[in-house]
Amino acid sequence: MQKHLFLGVEAIGQGAIDGGMSGVYAYPGTPSTEITEFIQENELAEQRNIHRQWSANEKTAYEAALGMSYAGKRAMVCMKHVGLNVAADAFVNSAMTGINGGLIVTVADDPSMHSSQNEQDSRFYGRFAMVPVLEPSNQQEAYDMARNGFQLSEKAGVPVMLRITTRMAHSRAGIIRKDVLEENQLRLPHDPKQFILLPAIARRRYNLLLQSQDAFLQMSEESEYNKYLDGPDKSLGIVACGISFNYLMECFDGQCPYPVVKVSQYPLPAKMIKRLRLECNQLLVLEEGAPLVEEMLKGFFDESSIIKGRLDNTLPRAGELNPDLVAKALGLEVQSGMPVPEVVANRPPALCQGCGHQDVYRAMNEALAEYGRGRVFSDIGCYTLGALPPYETISTCVDMGASITMAKGAADAGLIPAVAVIGDSTFAHSGITGLLDAVNEKANMTIVISDNESVSMTGGQDSSAYGKIETICQGVGVDPAHIHVIIPLRKNHEEMVELFRKELAYEGISVIIPRRECIQRASRRKRNKA
């Protein structure tokens, strides 16, 4: 049988194609990006003309996927964990509308914050919306879940969440593909009012969702992904969620002496968990992310300290798990090689040599020197690295689009000048509405849209505002006399400093657009041409 060497994210992309998906919708975000990239480059996806263009943000992506489901076809929407905050309105309400064609929402969490501003656990969202959640323990399961998840969604009548974490997303293993399923035909929902969440209908839909919970639980109990694995030593029972199951097996070379409930589908398989509790003296909960299962099992009044995990410091409260942390939690000896010599210096990420953002920050620092520090609000992207030496230009990085809106709030408070630095793609994602607020109130601020014509931090995907930024700003109502485009190059330094000085002094909204293609993207383009 032919094995394919796939990253977890690629396995999901292949699984979705093989599961009869008609469209993937996504905005790039580590560690989820390569799912869509895989589908974009896939031959069968091209033959089938599966929708695979990037969306402007996670909310537009989610809603488009829901629209495809409404029309009867199977769709997947992919995002990183914080992207689900953006799409949360659509997600939670889509549990109320239910689906027509199968809908999988794939969310990639980033515990330990390798490339993120927080490590929120998307399983909470799944529980909040009351939909089934799948959490693969290995790449084969990731493939199977993506492929079979549409059928599960159609059976459950609601979207299904496929939750992965960084290590699952970005680890490769051999997987075996299964038959390719046909796509669904175009077919309107059986109930013409299903998707109209007017209160009277919404109450009915909500009751249906509540009544479905027992069925979802039953699906978990019978799921091929959840297993009760008995063991001879009943002094401890282990609940191992998602990828943590692998770390557990690593500790015992595949032969765990304790009974284990392997959890890869939620709601929690209650019968298995209860059996484990009955048969074992203590329970250890292994889960990647927050202590969600542990808190559920512990409850508010349980002070019996029977349940071990992240809440009682058996495992660290924050950060991703690994085989060493799990071994320590099991009381096993942890080996370690030699210590890291003192001579080894930290090597944090940095802006690439020759990157246009560098020229922007050099010019901004000079122009802002007379006002002092603490006036530059920034956003999510490569340019966030302007927080680090040698630039240290920016004072904030919170969420997509927050540069413009926070600068506006600070300007409202009297911080003059207030400056926002945002990238072209982030502007398209969530900056435009904030700019509209600022224009409507004639806020006194300077907005720098550092335009490298791509979504760069995630690998140079197409930016949906490409070629449209000045038009968007004008359309929103910025005075064209205060919209400036400049090429961020060292030779233009003096000109840039002068422009920044002039617009910082202007009382009103200015938009400065330093524009030069991302050097990584430019060199990739040249390589591909050659």
């Binding site: 094995k3 060497l5 990253l7 580590t30 560690p31 990006t33 390569e34 390798h114 490339s115 290590r167 699952m168 997303a169 970005h170 680890s171 490769r172 293993a173 051999g174 990828i243 692998n246 770390y247 557990l248 097996m249 690593e250 595949g254 690994n322 085989p323 060493d324 071994a327 942890v334 080996q335 370690s336 090689g337 030699m338 210590p339 890291v340 010599p341 001579v343 080894v344 210096a345 930290n346 090597r347 944090p348 990420p349 940095a350 802006l351 690439c352 040599q353 490569c382 690295l385 030496p389 040698p390 931090m457 995630t458």
Partner: protein, 193 residues
């Protein structure tokens, strides 16, 4: 058979190309493989690491437990030291000696090299120089793979097949160049281990 390998370097140096060759070699020989990579922010010039595990038995964890790596293969000297806690007591460090200096506080190269030379088992190789001599400075990563190959429990021919398979679509010339780089690296390691 089992090979737990830490691949180390700096974002942009292309350590994943090494992993890809070994991955093909492993899969085409019906071996199990897991390989955890670093994507995202660190790829912008930060420290990057890949855990590569090959075995004739199913592999559980995507990450190598500490003190278990048979080999640290680093394409940059300082980075070869960052993951020493993962090295098994019998493991080898195989590192390129050409520093990649992109931070203001990069230590003196002599100090880094002294630390490497104090390791019980190591190969320090100027892969950039050997790559140049081979005919193309871009094949230094394949020189590094060659230098590490004596310490990986895979037939050398299988690794050569991996090269052929990976570079086939780039033409016979590229295949030959990379095979030459691989053999040059191996030769150096065998003479200097």
């Amino acid at each position: 058979m089992k090979a737990d390998i830490i691949l180390a370097g700096v974002g942009g140096q292309g350590i994943l190309s090494i992993a890809a060759i070994l991955g093909v070699a492993a899969l085409e020989n019906d071996l199990y493989l897991k390989q955890a990579e670093t994507h995202g922010m660190s790829q912008r010039g930060g420290a990057v690491v890949s855990h590569l595990r090959i075995s004739d038995k199913p592999i559980a964890s995507d990450l190598i437990p500490m003190g278990n790596a048979d080999l640290i293969l680093s394409v940059e000297p300082m980075e070869s030291l960052r993951y020493l806690p993962y090295l098994s007591p019998l493991g080898y460090v195989v590192t390129n000696t050409t520093p990649f200096v992109n931070i203001p506080n990069y230590p003196e190269v002599d100090k880094v090299m002294n630390e490497i030379r104090s390791l019980p088992r190591f190969v320090a190789i100027d892969a950039d120089q050997i790559a140049k001599e081979t005919g193309n400075s871009k094949v230094s990563n394949v020189v590094m793979l060659g230098a590490a190959s004596p310490f990986i429990d895979l037939d050398f021919e299988k690794i050569e097949d991996g090269i052929r398979s990976i570079f086939a679509r780039k033409g016979e010339e590229m295949v030959e160049l990379n095979l030459k780089a691989l053999r040059a690296g191996r030769k150096f390691a065998e003479e200097n281990r």
